[in-house]
Subunit: 283 residues, 2 copies
């Protein structure tokens, strides 16, 4: 799985709980974080490049644990590669549909996300196709606020009030970015305690578990492990990633710096890293 | 010259005015923007890598048009390479010293910058060594606000009030990030019209001009040009860079995508690009 940085660790934790016999390789693209303010084509390029890197390292399936990358690259990326690829948007839509139910009255769901995610209309189009009205708002300052550790500051409250001050009454709010669950306290403070806040990580985990089972890829309890339960790859500074990861509830595990640029030049040193990397192949 | 993205274009414009006979190569590292929230060691690595790239392309001098990269990599980077390297911190300090004058009364200067720039104390230590008291504040949300085009929004005002609400009386404010001049209107609105706002781009230009002259590198009016007056290199999406560049007052010029990762593998394709890149060598 991969994310632009540490936001996807909420999804990783849910997946590790749901898939106790699988091994995980998590790539955090911290050198290029954030994705949400960058052009969709650039983010789609990052997603392709990282997916190719993960496949080269032997993964049997890929989870895009980032809303912006999911919205920018799916479903086309899934058609281009030989392993299953899941994102976080479809499961989030499914969770929203389940939460508002199917009874008669008109329903409306608010979608919060990065500028890029909102621009794709990945959530809005799917919800509207299911007969659910949407209200959406790009919240470009939420990720920097979380990344700077200011999630419970006055700034977070002011910025939340600014973004959501004109939100109409809704039945649920999709937290369409893996960083946003860390803003739940301030969102509850501004929106009230009764609002349904949809964090898709649980639904992603059950979607992936069902998908692996259906395609015969699910590892069973009796199967021996061939690799670490969890390894991290980081495009930026490894120490900083680990500090932030552990602070945000991520598990401790071996972390290695990866140079995606070098990987794009397969002729440079053929097979050079194969030996040292074999122990980090997944399943 | 280089910057994490488009912020350094204010410095580029000042340099092009001060150096009418030079050719310029501007590298915007938009794939990895922003620098200010990333670890100093990572930013110093980016600065080394980009400087090596520019030198490979034949530049005779390098200007780091980014406060975070200047603070993180200078003076050590300048000692490691064979061409002169200037940053924006020293000129900013010189401008602040000039603006507060040398008369008897105690002086105090406020320094605003990214988290990384403030953490280095690059401005504070130099000012305090000159007998000027400092007050500093990291303003991590200013760059995303400018990049999202929200410089004149209510959010910009609220965030500025939050950061500067407890600022003591000062004689001048250093805008210690090349994005911040775009917030001058909101800073004046919050701080009043009488405050001296120090934007170092003019001083950087005169520092570089004097440095080139003193080292015999200054191109004269009669010298023929061997290359374009200005070319851009971009690590991210070229079209987006150009749109933003022109919107922020940058000049139109040829722009090329550059892959810094590939450049780190010189054995991959020796000399492959030398021919096609020769026309973009600077002076």
């Amino acid at each position: 799985m991969f994310d632009s940085g540490v936001g996807g660790l909420t999804v990783l934790n849910a997946l590790m709980t749901a898939l106790p016999h699988e091994s995980f390789l998590y790539l955090g693209d911290t050198a290029r974080v954030p994705y949400g303010s960058k052009p969709l084509a650039m983010v789609a390029g990052f997603a392709s490049e990282i997916t190719a890197e993960l496949i080269t390292r032997g993964v049997k399936a890929v989870v895009i644990a980032c809303n912006t990358a999911s919205a920018a690259s799916l479903p086309s990326l899934a058609r281009e590669v030989a392993v299953p690829v899941w994102g976080v948007v479809e499961p989030g839509v499914a969770a929203a549909r389940a939460s508002v139910g199917s009874t008669g009255s008109a329903k409306r769901v608010a979608v919060l996300g990065t500028e890029a995610t909102i621009r794709t209309r990945a959530y809005q189009d799917r919800l509207e196709a299911a007969g659910i009205a949407t209200w959406s708002r790009a919240c470009p300052l939420f990720v920097p606020i979380v990344e700077e550790g200011a999630s419970d500051s006055t700034i977070a409250t002011l910025v939340t009030e600014h973004y959501l001050g004109d939100m109409p009454p809704v039945d649920a709010v999709i937290l369409g970015c893996t960083h946003y669950p860390l803003l739940k306290p301030v969102l509850r403070q501004v929106l009230g305690n009764d609002i349904v806040l949809i964090d898709s990580s649980e639904v992603v985990a059950s979607t992936v578990a069902a998908g692996l089972r259906d395609s015969g890829l699910l590892r069973q309890a009796g199967d021996g492990h061939t690799s670490e339960r969890l390894s991290y790859l980081v495009t930026g500074d490894v120490g900083t990633f680990m500090n932030t990861a552990v602070r945000l509830g991520g598990q401790n595990a071996p972390a290695t710096r990866v140079d995606l640029g070098a990987r794009r030049q397969p002729a440079a040193a053929p097979g050079k890293d194969a030996g040292s990397r074999a122990d980090r192949l997944v399943s």
